[in-house]
Amino acid sequence: MTTDRVLQVSKISKRFPGVVALDGVALDVAAGEVLAVVGENGAGKSTLMKILAGVYRPDAGEIQVDGHTVALHAPSDATRLGIGVIHQELEVVDTLDVAANICLGRERLWGGPLQLLDRRRMDAEAAAALARLGVAIAPRTLVGDLSTAERQLVTIARALAMQARILILDEPTSSLGLDDTNRLLQVIRDLRTQGVAVIYISHRLAEVEAIADRVVVLRDGRNAGVLGHGAIARDVVVRMMVDREVRPGGTRRSAPADPSAATSDACFVIDALRTQRYPYVPVSLSLRRGEILGVAGLIGSGRTELAEAICGVTPPRAGSVRLDGEVLRFASPRAAIDRGIYLVPEDRRHAGLMDVATIRENITLPALRQHARGGIIRRRAEADSARRAATGLRVKAPSIEVPVAQLSGGNQQKVVLARWLSLSPRVVIFDEPTRGIDVGARAEIYDVMRGLAAAGAAILMVSSDIEEILDVSDRVAVMHDGRVTGILDREACTAERVMQLAVA
């Protein structure tokens, strides 16, 4: 164990309205060490990294670089102290070349008032940084022409060119294939021998096993344990990630209220569906009437793509769905809606609602024709229907003529639900149904889901919230890299088991 700690973080706390993201977290890393940071979605990894990048300021705690306490007020402070952060969304300018990206913001200039670029010096600097990574990319290549893996290497080279001694990589392999992943791991090993301290955040425990000297596990914003080299084993890490006290008031769903509602026959079958994102991985699942099937997995595991392929938003490459024995292929959301298959999308603002439109207009949009005669909307019928749907879900608003932009997240989600409830759904797909929604509205949304199931609908619920998965689902399918890695019955379903399958 080395003693020259280049970065030491102690007792860092950060709270956002309504949630404690970090609660007294500590970690440290030495020069020439690779420290992996792992944890579930929402464990606080991203918040911690943003604090180290100077994006967020902690509410409490201390950060030391080279033994000196530092304050990170802005990303430029982090850069100056030699902290380089490689974000998941690669921050490169596609229309500039590699050298221009590596020198972005620190362009080398010829002297004189015209501030002309010294391209030769910039190229040389870029080439030197890339050489440290052992990769051969010509400095004048347009970044837009590079692969994802190469672009990532460019961002790492940029950090090195800015004299980074502490390199933080946030989910660096989430969009890389196996070959590129191995190449990246080799680059990291090389950097380690050059004395760079690396903080490696990943969901993928196989990589963590392969590369990390130590592992810090975060859980619910707290340190959940540290494993030294040699002690890093996937089982142990998973247990540390999910081990938790039972949430107070967390009620697991009792068996279906009406046993006859949950028939044993599958009514909705997803048959070898292949999505645009994972075109070579067929997914098959089946749902029973009155059942809530949870779909768990890490971000990027292909769950949203599956949901959107089922509903015709992004038509699948191949495969089909069967509803009550009828084979269906949807080329548009309209086609799915006409069959009673509805999606409550993940991104409410982008895909769910029209912000400036009223509650009424948002609720009635898919069923507008039902409230029209000869193409002309009957305003009274439309308003009555919207009001009924909004009151039924207890949407809190002064009137249905209020723009939805003025509502809270929970009430906005209720507006999306209200849209479908009056249309006698047969299958409803919820994608992250309670993200960004407060506890009270959350419980109401679960009630709606249970009510729908009790009325005989089949429910597919994609969620990254493991407690939600455990509380609400009758069965749980777990996905990893576009595949279904396991299906767990209620009895067999534990957080630990789900996590093992999710990182498989």
Partner: protein, 318 residues
């Protein structure tokens, strides 16, 4: 009426009052009739362009379409001796077909509306000049199709026919835009096309439909304009009409980002532009300043509108 419509109406009334005070001729029957005729003619295609703008698109091809259709109408009636009952629908349908072509290129090939209709602007102008051999076309004495001419230059109970047509088309457009399922879809696409698609709206058909309507209404306007001028010079006929239409729509409350606008607002915007042109004539402002005055008035109106809005927002926030 919305706040925006009221503010355009206010500006319109204020301008009329100023001009009437400065030049008594403004209120003469002849002047008002002529102005109403122009408002009707320009207002009809402005409504079409307004609908396109509500989807978040733009239509730059109006002026050239007017030229092409005007040239064709003259050739059909005068040179080819087509019956008016065939030529008039043919011109309107052709306008709709050109709009449909724009709509398909935009929704199927995902080309940008600006590019598609800019190319239309260039293309149709060229075709108009070519088929007319750059010779100015007209209708002579309109023997045999006087009824068509009367649509442009006639009157109904003293109200010029183009204005009557504008009121009829405007009423139909208002029902379509503000009361029908299609109109609601049009706004939905302009506000958030992705969310509209998730809610089952066929966004491509809705968007393409707006361009068809724009072409159709331009076809109707083209007939009125051709007979109003009775002299169709292929190289200059209809020049800048697309800008009149866009200005009318935007002045009348359509947002170029889409999702906002009303038929009443567009008609008020079209009226405002014609009053400004009339003002330049009547107040002895050199006619070379025509566009400059129009630009200045619209700009001042936009600045005043923004100041009022930000002050109102400031009060609301405080």
């Amino acid at each position: 009426m919305s706040r925006k419509e009221l503010s355009v109406l206010g500006l319109l009334v204020a301008l009329c009052a100023i001009v009437a005070f400065q030049s008594p001729q403004f209120l003469s029957a002849g002047n008002i009739q002529n102005m109403a005729r122009l408002i009707g003619t320009y207002g009809i295609f402005s409504i079409g362009v307004g609908m396109v703008i509500i989807t978040g698109g733009i239509d730059l091809s109006i002026g050239s379409v007017c030229a092409l259709l005007g040239v064709l109408l003259s050739m059909m009636l005068v040179e080819w001796r087509w019956p008016a009952a065939v030529a008039v629908p043919a011109v309107i349908v052709l306008g709709a077909v050109l709009g449909a072509a724009h709509g398909l290129l935009i929704t199927r090939l995902r080309l940008q509306p600006f590019i598609v209709t800019l190319c239309g602007l260039l293309l149709y102008r060229g075709i108009a000049r070519y088929i007319a051999a750059d010779v100015t076309k007209g209708f002579g004495a309109a023997t045999g199709f006087e009824w068509v001419r009367s649509l442009a230059s006639g009157s109904l109970a003293g109200v010029p026919m183009p204005f009557v047509l504008l009121l009829a088309i405007g009423a139909a457009a208002a029902v379509l835009l503000h009361q029908s399922v299609y109109g609601r879809y049009l706004f939905a696409v302009g506000r958030n096309a992705e969310a509209a698609r998730y809610a089952g709206v066929n966004t491509r058909a809705v968007t393409a439909g707006a361009y068809v309507l724009s072409g159709l209404l331009t076809g109707i306007s083209a007939i009125l304009i051709a007979f109003y001028t009775n002299s169709i010079s292929p190289s200059s006929h209809g020049n800048f009409y697309e800008l009149y239409a866009i200005a009318a729509a935007v002045v009348g409350g359509c947002s170029l980002r889409g999702g906002e606008g009303s038929v009443v607002g567009i008609i008020l915007g079209a009226a405002l532009l014609q009053v400004i042109r009339n003002l330049v004539n009547l107040m002895d402002i050199p006619s070379s300043l025509d566009f400059a005055v129009m630009g200045a008035v619209i700009l001042i109106g936009a600045i005043a509108d923004e100041l009022v809005r930000s002050r109102a927002a400031g009060r609301g926030g405080a």
